[in-house]
């Protein structure tokens, strides 16, 4: 009898002891659950993209519940989610400017060429390892579609050898930004805005050789801009979206048409200087509509 009873007792005893210790430990060391954070977590879209700057939706929900972050940082959820969260938290939603991803390259086959015939793996990451990529411009889009595959919302297409993002479909999740090995994609606010759609840091003559539409760093835009929004650094211009009012003066003077104006909703792009410019009678500057004319006394 003892032969059976002793082992049963010992195993049962160890099991009971372990169970008791676990039960006591889970009560004594219980971590209070953050109900607020969990409720907020349910409101967030759950894409876990990290575009808000926190480690996924859980991280953002935690920061929101402890008041470290403001609602409206989630580009995927947009204004709707921001409104829900601010109602729940009882605070002001703040300004939610929608941001859309933009490819800073227009190196289509009309403007640039491939320097080699590439027969390797059909990904940008793969091609970028071989001698800096296949495009003649080493900074430019290779058009092999890593961003297209990364996009969960079907917003990116490869057209004529260059990636194009449909701003209406872009949710701002930043997956394409991370996928591009040439770091050509970045966010711009969806408002009327000038953007430099080139990333070539070479000197003007070098840029001219590889691309018809590249930024040559001539600084005409910098001199033209009345709002201190355009600056040329490393032979490529960049626009400060905070300061830019979208007047289009820089796009008008750009000799290579590397600067484009994107429209308020980010949906329409005005190409090749076809937008209407209005000359101000007082200061002689060109502006895009009459609303933008600033009267200087």
């Amino acid at each position: 009898m003892n032969e059976i009873l002793t082992p049963v007792m010992i195993v049962a005893g160890i099991g009971l002891l372990a169970g008791l210790i676990l039960a006591i430990a889970s009560i004594v060391m219980a971590v209070p659950k953050d109900e607020k954070a969990e409720a907020i977590r349910d409101m967030l879209p759950g894409a876990n993209c990290g575009a808000c700057g926190f480690s996924g939706c859980d991280g953002y929900a935690k920061a929101l519940s402890s008041g470290e972050a403001k609602p409206g940082l989630c580009p995927v959820g947009g204004a709707g989610v921001a409104k829900n969260i601010s109602e729940y938290l009882g605070c002001d939603a703040g300004d939610v400017t929608r941001k859309v991803a933009l490819v800073h390259c227009m190196g289509s086959y009309d403007n640039t060429t491939d320097k080699v015939e590439y027969e390797g793996i059909e990904t940008c990451a793969g091609a970028a390892i071989v001698a800096g990529g296949i495009a003649s411009c080493q900074y430019g889009c290779m058009g092999l579609g890593d961003c297209m595959r990364a996009c969960q919302y079907d917003a990116i297409s490869i057209c004529n050898g260059v990636a194009k993002i449909d701003p209406a479909r872009c949710k701002g999740c930043s997956m394409c930004v991370q996928a591009c090995p040439k770091h050509l994609i970045s966010f711009v606010p969806a408002k009327k805005l000038a953007v430099v759609r080139c990333n070539n840091c070479d000197k003007g003559a070098m840029t001219n050789k590889v691309c018809k539409i590249g930024c040559i760093g001539c600084k005409k835009c910098e001199k033209t801009c009345q709002h201190d929004a355009v600056h040329v650094k490393d032979f490529v211009a960049s626009v400060d979206p905070e300061k830019c009012i979208g007047c289009g003066a820089c796009a008008n003077v750009c000799p290579t048409n590397a600067i484009k104006i994107i429209d308020k909703d980010g949906q329409r792009e005005i190409w090749e200087n076809k937008f209407q410019m209005v000359k101000c009678d007082y200061c002689g500057q060109y502006f895009i509509t009459k609303e933008h004319i600033i009267i200087k006394e």
Binding site: T6, P7, I10, V11, I14, G15, A18, G19, I21, L22, A25, S26, M29, A30, V31, I121, T123, A125, G126
Partner: protein, 202 residues
């Protein structure tokens, strides 16, 4: 003493590697080795649990089971203890070291039923029976070395898998088949360490 401990430690990493020589713990080896950071996190958690569970199961076997002639209960008791222990560690980490919990938390429940952990605790006792000099400290060093060996294998294999991702693999071999082929080749390469530790310190 020190020399023999170093020999045990190195042998546990290279010649007695739990994944590549004993083929234990293959599930995390194939499942979690897709990315370097998850592979490292998992291995650190495994090392941690291996050492602690050896530290607990060795005295229980030596002082409770063996004197009562209950050595045959070893497997079931060890599973019970390791499962409870991992749960306990999870609770403690959640409360007192949340940063470590965030880093290892996902992997801890996975380890509860990991055969490598059970294998270490049982083989350590087997070794102690065949060699009287193999006591508690030696067992702990062996468990720690086994964990580091797990880490080495995982990190090597994570690197290999990241390379495989960028390769053009025939359709019939894509996914798990090519991973298993790569795993077998890695295991074969570890055969090269056979006799190394004895030659170095023996």
């Amino acid at each position: 003493m020190i020399k023999s401990l170093v020999a045990i430690f190195l042998a546990a990493i290279l010649t007695e590697n739990y994944i590549l020589n004993k083929f234990l713990g293959i599930c995390p080896f194939l499942g979690v080795s897709k990315k370097l950071d998850t592979a490292t996190g998992m291995s650190i958690a495994v090392t941690f649990v291996m050492v602690i569970s050896t530290a607990v199961t060795w005295p229980i076997y030596t002082y409770v089971l063996e004197p009562h002639g209950l050595a045959y209960l070893q497997t079931i008791v060890f599973i019970l203890i390791i499962a409870a222990l991992v749960q306990f560690i999870e609770i403690v980490l959640k409360k007192y070291i949340p940063s470590l919990y965030n880093a290892l938390g996902v992997y801890l429940p996975l380890i509860t039923t990991n055969c490598a952990v059970l294998g270490v605790t049982m083989l350590v006792i087997e070794k102690g029976q065949s060699d009287p000099g193999f006591g508690y400290i030696q067992s702990l060093v062996n468990a720690f070395g086994s964990g580091i060996g797990f880490l080495v294998a995982m990190v090597i294999f994570a690197g290999i898998r990241e390379r495989i991702e960028h390769n053009d693999i025939p359709k019939s071999l894509q996914g798990l088949p090519i991973t298993l082929v790569a795993a077998s080749l890695t295991a074969v390469s570890f055969l090269g360490f056979q006799g190394l530790v004895e030659g170095m310190l023996g």
